[in-house]
């Protein structure tokens, strides 16, 4: 019973980065820009947060802000490549991942940020509610970003359906020609979606170091960016479904150290494969479940150019 309870109480911090990154990726892809650079954006956010704390003495909250800004800045490069220069979106995304891997590893070492621990963000105990049995510790005794994430997801789910901006964003990803004919600045919307989405991924990355690990090592994101790409497909680009997916992956991640600690007979490295195998399983499941209908933005991955002659 204790095992279950500890596990549940630990899911939220593991789920938050998945949820935030999935939301960011989803906003980007809703506009029709395929973003395989997620892993890179997470890395940059993670390192920027560490740098802000270790070198600028920033508070954890400010460090998360800096993580968002740094990632948004890198996303400008990605946006220029895919929107202005219309470079193949697969190549661009991969290039961003490799750039971020090289850059973060290099900066981490040259600035002396690698493997130095620091103190992170405290949890907030919500008065009265956190004293509730069970749910108190699971839901009302978490860090502030957890609550922010819930608000953002619900807001995004609402705004995509019930605001002009949300509707236009979706139209740009579904049918840019139609959006253009309706006077919507397609490139501007895509630019905005890439940058905003990257900022959220930066927040997710920053959370990984500033809130969870409190330390930077190379490639600390460990493929979470790729898992998030699969998660968004699994969630069919719906924010609330992505939240559910994030809880699933957070749950798996939270259970691994606990299982290992109980002296479970499976070797540790096999447990560590779990998130990746689960992701693959989820991809297969999504493919079986959709059978022809993708559920994704119809123009995902297509560059748009008005003068193009067909």
């Amino acid at each position: 019973m204790d095992f279950l309870f500890n596990w549940l109480a630990n899911i939220p911090p593991f789920a938050v980065p998945y949820a935030l990154a999935a939301l960011g990726l989803m906003i980007c892809e809703k506009s029709g820009v395929l973003n395989l650079g997620a892993e890179g954006f997470l890395l940059v956010g993670a390192l920027a947060g560490v740098g802000a704390i270790l070198s600028a003495g920033a508070s954890p909250a400010a460090a998360l802000g800096i993580a968002m800004l740094a990632t948004a800045a890198l996303s400008l490069l990605f946006a220029v490549m895919v929107i202005a220069l219309r470079v193949n979106q697969v190549i661009s995304g991969l290039a961003i991942v490799f750039l971020a891997q090289g850059l973060t590893s290099l900066l981490g070492r040259t600035q002396g940020w690698t493997s130095r621990s620091f103190s992170g963000m405290p949890r907030i105990e919500i008065p009265w509610l956190s004293d509730l049995p069970w749910v108190g510790r699971i839901l009302f005794s978490q860090d502030p970003v957890f609550y922010l994430t819930l608000v953002l997801i619900v807001f995004a789910a609402w705004a995509l359906r019930n605001t002009h901006v949300g509707m236009r964003l979706r139209s740009v990803g579904e049918n840019p020609e139609a959006a253009d004919a309706a006077g919507i600045p397609v490139a501007l919307y895509r630019f905005g979606a890439v940058v905003l989405g990257a900022a959220l991924m930066g927040l997710a990355g920053g959370y990984l170091t500033v809130v969870i690990s409190n330390i930077w090592v190379d490639n600390i994101t460990g493929g979470r960016g790729w898992i998030v790409i699969a998660l968004v497909i699994f969630a069919r680009w719906q924010p609330l479904a992505a939240l559910a997916g994030a809880v699933l992956f957070g749950g798996i991640e939270a259970v691994i150290p606990r299982l290992a600690a109980t002296g479970f007979w499976v070797p540790q490295h096999f447990l560590l494969m779990l998130p990746y195998l689960l992701t693959l399983g989820v991809m297969v499941w999504s493919s079986l479940a959709r059978r022809g209908r993708g559920g994704g933005p119809a123009a995902l991955g297509d560059p748009f150019l008005r003068e193009e002659r067909r």
């Binding site: 991969l94 891997q101 090289g102 190379d218 790729w226 990746y276 150019l305």
Partner: protein, 373 residues
């Protein structure tokens, strides 16, 4: 119709707005019909120069005196035989992973799992070496064949998932890299750990299980193997019927299918050949450079392979050229590490800068900017 009556103001303002915009000269984008080959090569060359220029700035910013760069990257490599030998040592596996990428990309199959297939290749080779399977004279051949086979086995799942269920191969091959890596760690920390060493790597290969040196410093026979594979890939992709049909799969899979090309079979074959090559690359590094299986032998080769395949436009001959270029970069990177304490990740960063510049040049090949007045 009356429904438009509620916005007369908007309509009244219209002609003025219509006039105001567009007065300014602006740049318009046009799709080029076609750009001749030599001009395209020139564009790619220019983009490489731009990438190298940016990388130079980064290196100078990181503390390498600008004057010494030429020495590190060109002079020291081509005047000191030991360094040249090192370039050849790295060229061999880079050619092979470059070919692996090129073959897969020809079939529009994004094999991002080269590192995972390299791991399984090395595991296959080490299995043979650890258990001394087969006569000593044939040991190396057996190791190479097992490595190729193991790479293919690791590709089977993502390839079939792609063809059967349209599961995106970029993500599936990449996820399997992490699985393969954890499996490698399991072996190296567990059953295959070298008992005589504190580090997680396998036992040293016996002499019969190591690629022989060709008599030029530490260069081994893998360089011959790499060239032979490049020739093989050239025959496969450019000369054979398979390659001819694969071009159609690449250019227009729908048309290929309508003409009766067995598209799925071709894509599957290309993916498996790609994975077999990656497996052989794993074998080459283990049996040639490290003489055992280490926990990080594969690091960075996946990306380099993709980069080489991309720059070479999936052409096996150009793969050799660009692989040598990247090998120079890697050897120079080691020099930088020793003399200027520049972390090895600088090499990764420079490769990323180059691929971004090369990708950006595609824009100038495909579009034309025009000033509209």
């Amino acid at each position: 119709m009356t429904e438009a009556q509620d916005l007369p103001g908007r309509a009244a303002a219209a002609p003025a707005t219509g006039r105001r915009r567009g007065r300014w000269p602006h740049l318009a984008l046009e799709v080029r019909q076609h750009m001749p080959g030599p001009q395209q090569a020139l564009m790619l060359g220019a983009s490489l120069v731009a990438g190298i220029a940016i990388s130079t700035l980064v290196l100078v910013a990181a503390g390498v005196p600008a004057g010494n760069l030429l020495d590190e990257f060109v002079i020291s490599i081509f005047t000191r035989p030991r360094n040249l030998a090192n370039v050849l040592v790295y060229t061999a596996p880079l050619v092979i992973v470059g070919l692996a990428a090129a073959v897969a990309f020809r079939a529009r199959f994004w094999n991002i799992g080269i590192e995972g297939q390299m791991i399984f290749g090395a595991i296959g080779a080490t299995l043979i070496a650890n258990h001394d399977i087969g006569p000593e004279g044939a040991r190396l051949y057996l190791m190479a064949a097992t490595a190729a086979f193991a790479g293919m086995v690791w590709m089977l799942v993502p390839a079939l998932l792609k063809l059967r269920l349209e599961v995106n191969e970029i993500i599936s091959t990449l996820l399997l890299n992490y699985v393969a890596f954890n499996f490698l760690l399991f072996l190296l920390y567990g059953p295959w750990k070298d008992p005589q060493s504190a580090f997680p790597h396998s036992k040293m290969y016996d002499a019969a299980e190591r690629l022989t040196r060709i008599g030029f410093f530490n260069v081994d026979t893998s360089i011959y193997l790499a060239f032979a594979l490049a020739v093989g890939c050239f025959l496969l992709l450019v000369v054979s019927r398979f390659g001819f049909l694969l071009n159609f799969v690449h250019a227009n899979p729908k048309m290929a299918r309508a003409m009766g090309v067995r598209v799925a079979v071709l894509v599957l074959s290309a993916a498996l050949v790609s994975a077999a090559l990656a497996g052989v690359a794993g074998f080459v590094i283990s049996a040639g450079i490290d003489n055992r299986m280490t926990q990080s032998f594969f690091v960075g080769y996946g990306f380099s392979g993709i980069l080489i395949g991309f720059l070479a436009r999936n052409n096996p001959v150009l793969v050799v050229f660009f692989a040598a270029l990247i090998a120079v970069l890697m050897v120079a990177g080691q020099g930088l590490q020793v003399f200027y304490q520049i972390p090895s990740s600088m090499v990764l960063l420079i490769q990323a800068i180059i691929v971004i510049c090369a990708a950006a040049s595609e824009f100038l090949i495909r579009y034309r900017l025009r000033l509209v007045r």
